[in-house]
Structure formats: C-alpha cells, structure tokens
Symmetry: C2
Subunit: 384 residues, 2 copies
C-alpha cells in the first residue's frame, strides 16, 4: 500500500534526508507536493525524480526558472506564499513540515488543518506559534510527529507510558563548541569558532544557537507545547557525546531514553514509518566502542539562554515569539561581526524587558509580533 507525502522545504537538509529514505522505499510512497524557497533547479530535479504532482517555490521570482526546468514533465509549477499554502493543503497521508523560519508557519498550519499526520521540523511553529498550532492540532484531530532528534526521542520514550505518569522529561544538550570555555573566552568567541559544532553538521544560525544554548532553550519551549507535563518537569542535561537524544522518567523511577547516531535520518525514519519502523542505513550503536557517556548540569551563568527561554515559556503568550525573533537578529549581528558572542543573550534579554506584546491569537498576530520584534531589536541594537 503506497502512502502519499508532501515535503514543505524539500531542498533543505531535512528535505534531503527525508528524500534519501523515500528513495530507498520508492514503491511505498506517492509524492504530492515538493516546495523550496528559491532553489528552482534542485527542486525541479527532485520533483522529476520523485514524480511529484506539484513543485512550488516560495520566492515568486524563481517561478520562471522552475517552469522552464519542469517543461514537458507534466509536473505543475507554482510560486509565492499562497501557492505554498495551496500545496500544503493538498490531501496527503503525511506532510513533512521543514521550512525554516516564519515563512513555514502558514503552510505548516495548512498541513495541520488537513487533520492527517504532520511531521514537524519547523521550529517556529511551536516556539513562536505554539498555542495557535497546538490548538489547531487539537481542533483538527491531527497527529503531530516531532522530527527534531530530541523531541522525537521523547515521543518514542512516551510509548512506554502516559504523560500523566511522567515525573520528568530531560532534554540532552551537547553543550556546543564552547562547552568548556571560560566567561572571558566566551566574550572573545568568533563566528568561525561558533559554527564548528562537535557532533552535528548544521547551518550557521543553528550552530550559533548550539553555542549559546539558545537551541536547547528553544527546544525546551517546543517540548513544553508538545508534551504538556508542566515546565517544572522539563530538564536539560549537558551530554557532550550526543548519543542519548533525550529521556523520560516515569513515576515509578523507570527512565526511558532514546539513543542513536547523530544522523537526522533516524528521527525522520521514525516519523515516516510511525507507528511501525523502517530500515535506515545508519550504523548500529556500539556503546562498547564509544566507551563512555558523560553528563553534567548546564551552567546558566555562562550560558543564560536556557534560563531566558524557560522564562519566556513561563510568561507564554507572544513572549517566546519575541525571544525567537530577537535571537535571530542578534545571531545575524554576531555572524556579521557587529556584536560579540555574549551580547547575543544580553540583547535578547534587553528586548524581552522592553517589548511585551499581547498574546497572539492567530497566526497573523504571531507573524506581526515576529516582524515588530525584529524591527525593535534592530533599532535597539542601533543596527538600522
């Protein structure tokens, strides 16, 4: 029996890993929509390979190139924000929502509104629009599968019990490249140093988030929406080897953990095959060869990001959206050499103190808060 699938964000790294797995069970899947931001050439190549029904570029300027590249293929080409939402609305068994940033919110919501299954890799959907998205998931009876390695780990561990019996959920954090750096060293850290992640190959923005621990803080906010056990039961532990992806402790003292290689194809395969399992080419876990797994408490003096994120989640409403937007602007400024590494968290905290918008009731509200927060952050940092 074939299942139908759309991938929102097909040319990114999640899209590539997803299609790598789909390629291995080609006969099991029918690909409906593939979307990209502006990379028409790659998108057209993938759409042809997987015989997609429709290919969509978010950037309308790329549409002519997409049309040309798909000429004679019989595959529909479209461009722009509303075409993206239309593609995400086409009925499929499974949508992989992997568009980066706020651009992913509307298509992700359209996929959720189908009431089928959405594998979620768009961080903003839960960080900035958590309440709006989870309300839609509930309203439409949608199955939401977390694709992030930590949240997917928690999701797997929850198969052994019920949320009501959870005593603690612990997100593991590699601690990033500056894990062992002193406060003085952190103040002098360069973008080149920050983007070298020890365990995962990632883009510059998320590598900096790993270095500041904002990445883990944002994951804490996501976990708060995905697994509503209460923030006081959500923990973070630094685990440099990134072998244990996260853990769930139950009331009887049993802790279930999910372990695996640092390969996104593992959580992606878990989502694609759920509630069954599929093969991946990932190497088996060899703990004897690894030798040791180490753990330590996070140091929120050197890495205040997780504290800020926890406070934002506690405040709720539009505060996490402000935090996320502020962090993006600060990271961009750091990468551009405009602010120092430790200023990222400091400026985010400053904006949170100055800008406290009303709770966002709709996706439009979230997007407006996001834009306003970015604008205020740039002004505050005198970058404009």
């Amino acid at each position: 029996m074939t299942r139908s699938l759309s991938i929102l964000g097909a040319t990114g790294s999640i899209g590539a890993s997803t299609l790598d797995l789909i390629r291995r069970e080609r006969g099991a899947w029918r690909v409906v929509a593939l979307t990209a931001n502006g990379n028409a050439a790659d998108l057209a190549r993938l759409a042809r390979e997987f015989a997609a029904e429709v290919a969509v570029v978010a950037d309308e300027a790329s549409l002519p190139a997409l049309r040309a590249a798909l000429a004679g293929s019989g595959i529909a080409a479209a461009g722009g924000a509303s075409a993206l939402v239309e593609a995400a609305s086409r009925p499929v068994d499974l949508t992989v929502a992997a568009i980066v940033g706020c651009a992913g919110l509307a298509p992700t919501m359209a996929a959720i509104e189908q009431g089928r299954t959405v594998a979620l890799a768009n961080k903003e959907a839960l960080v900035s629009a958590g309440a709006v998205m989870t309300a839609a998931v509930e309203r439409h009876g949608t199955t939401l599968l977390p694709m992030d390695s930590e949240h997917n780990a928690i999701f797997q561990c929850l198969a052994a019990g019920d949320l009501a019996h959870v005593r603690a959920i612990t997100l593991t954090a590699s601690g990033g490249p500056f894990r062992d750096w002193s406060a003085e060293q952190l103040a002098a850290a360069t973008p080149q140093q920050a983007i070298k992640h020890p365990n995962w190959a990632m883009g510059a923005k998320i590598s900096v988030d790993s270095a500041t621990m904002f990445n883990k803080g944002l994951e804490l906010i996501e976990a708060h929406h995905l697994f509503p056990v209460g923030l006081e039961k959500l923990r973070i532990v630094v685990h440099p080897q990134s072998v244990v992806h996260s853990m769930v402790e139950y009331r009887d003292g049993s802790t279930l953990a999910q372990l695996g290689p640092s390969d996104m194809r593992v959580p992606i395969a878990s989502c694609l095959a759920w509630p069954s399992r599929m093969d991946t080419p990932c190497a088996p876990l060899d703990l004897a060869a690894l030798g040791e797994l180490t753990f330590r408490a996070p140091d929120e003096a050197r890495f205040p990001a997780t504290r800020l994120c926890r406070q934002a989640a506690e405040a709720g409403g539009a505060v996490p959206a402000v935090l996320n937007a502020a962090n993006e602007v600060a990271v961009a400024a750091f990468l551009a050499g405009q602010i120092g590494f430790t200023r990222i968290a400091v400026t985010v905290e400053e904006l949170l103190a100055r800008y406290a918008p009303a709770a966002a009731a709709t996706l439009g509200d979230v997007i407006a808060v996001d834009a306003e927060a970015r604008s205020r952050m740039r002004q505050m940092m005198e970058l404009v």
Copy 2:
C-alpha cells in the same frame, strides 16, 4: 477497583519488595495466597498484615508452626508441594512467581495455567524449562511480565516498537566484583571476595553468578525465550554503573534504553501497575550527579560463562537445564571451599560435554534432568 494478587515466595527479597509496594497502596489490592519455603513466622506475620486467604509453606515440617502462628486469624494454612500448587491455582489477577530454584517450577506453571497475568522472577522457569513454560503461556493466553531488572527493561523498551523490527537486544552486565581482575587473580578468588557485589544487595549464590558472569549468561537464555528475536540479535555489554538496565535497538537505528536506580522495586512496580505506572519511593535519576556511564565489551576469555550459556541456548532442549544445575552444584562447591573460582565454568563445561539428555517435553522431564545433572556433577567433581 481492587486487584487480586498472590505471591509465591513472599518471604524472599522479591516478596519483601513487592509487599513494600503493596503496603503503599493497600486499598488497591486483595492478597489471596502467600507462600514461603519454611519461614513460618515471617509468613504468618505477612499473611496477617495483608489479610491473605491462605498461607502455604513448601516444607511440610513447618506447617505446625504456621498453623500455630495463624491460630484465630481465619487464614487457612497449608504445607507441602501440592498445597503450593493448589495455592498458585487460586484465581488471581496477578501472580508474582518468585520462588527460587526448581521448587518454583510447578507452582509457576500452575499460575501460568490460570491464563491471567504472571510476573516472573523465578529464573529456572525460563532457563531450565523455557520451552515448556512459553508453550504453556501461549496455550493459556497468559500475560507474562518479566520482573528481573534487565528483562523488565527490555519489556519496557519494546513498548516503542515490535519484536519484528528489533535489530539487537543488549543486556547490560555490571561485570561483577572481579571485572578488572587478571586470570591469575581470578584463579585465587575467594568466596568472601565473590559475594561482594558492587551495585546490588544479593544472596551468595547470585553474587557468585554475577562474579562468574553466569548470571548474565542465564539472563541471556531467559531473554532468548521471552523475546524470540534469535540468539544472534542478543548481546551483552559490560556497564559497571548498572544504571542502564538493558536496551533494544530497532531497524531504523533508534535504541531505547531503560535506566534507573539499582532498586528491585522499580521493575516490580512496573509489573504491578502494568500497563499503567505507580509511584515508588525510589530516588529520581540524576545523570549529572552520576557524571559518567561506561561500557565495554565482555571478556569471554576471563569470563567464559556467557559463551557457555549462549552455546546451551543454541543447543536448546534440556542443555540449559543441565548447565543451570551444574552451575548451582559448582557454585555450592566453590562457596564450600571445595573448588577454585575459575573451576566453576570449567566443570560446568565438562558436564555439558558428558551429559546430553533428550529434550524435556514436560515439567517432570525438566525436574528429572535437573536432578540427574546435579547428581552427575557431584560425581564428576568427586564431591559425593
């Protein structure tokens, strides 16, 4: 809603831990039968406390003392092997089968034949009588819950997937007190040194089994019957901290592990509350405080027991029963100062080479093979 429960082996350590948990939710349970070997005083005290219907001593000589201790309580007292089987046959929602040794086989079988739920802590049921017991479980539609910490860990990890999707099951082993000893040191090891287990408080026999790694080998045989994925998928890894109790790796590269304190109340609570969860007073897991978990491959040159057990499981039939009986005799001889530590595995291997009985079709066959193996082992060791 109260559930009914019998405990076969109520005065042992599993019985005590089980009753400790029952005591905490007294109103949720109705205790039907409690049994002991010969400890009439303790048994009577527990039967009174938990208002059991019947108390049974396996050793008939203890029956008068039990009768006297229960006088006026309204609790029935009985003694002997057939009374034990009768008690195990009384209908209950859950039987905890925790009698040590071959004496536990017949009552455990009687509990299985109820077709309800049996929480199994009797090792011989699966090591010596695996095929006979699992056939009875299947025939009667019984739910078998493994109470041993390793097998219970695997059982919990299997909630996240299906046996058909398992790539490997890994039992963790503390490695015992002689983990880092040289072959020369092992040859000179004394009983006093062997019974100091690093992580668990246990009896002398099982402590020696932990030191030889026969304990882990016997668990491998049990796992082979409980989780029929094929012996080639069953692994052992040495993990000195005994925090990870065992692991299941699925075909997608996800490994689920169960972690917890070295406290039998955790797996017992898992069985008592299954498929739900109950509170225990066990301390939460604090990996940051533990700092590190280490793993290494077992060394079958110094510790040949796991190899012997794997070979016995591969041979099947009555061979594991011979191995188990031979090991018990050898351990008793070691504890009595009659043979050296490394002679335990050597003599077990010798008996396996000399005595290869036909497969046991019934529990009677298993018990006969067990008795014959013990007799031959004693003769072979010239201890008779």
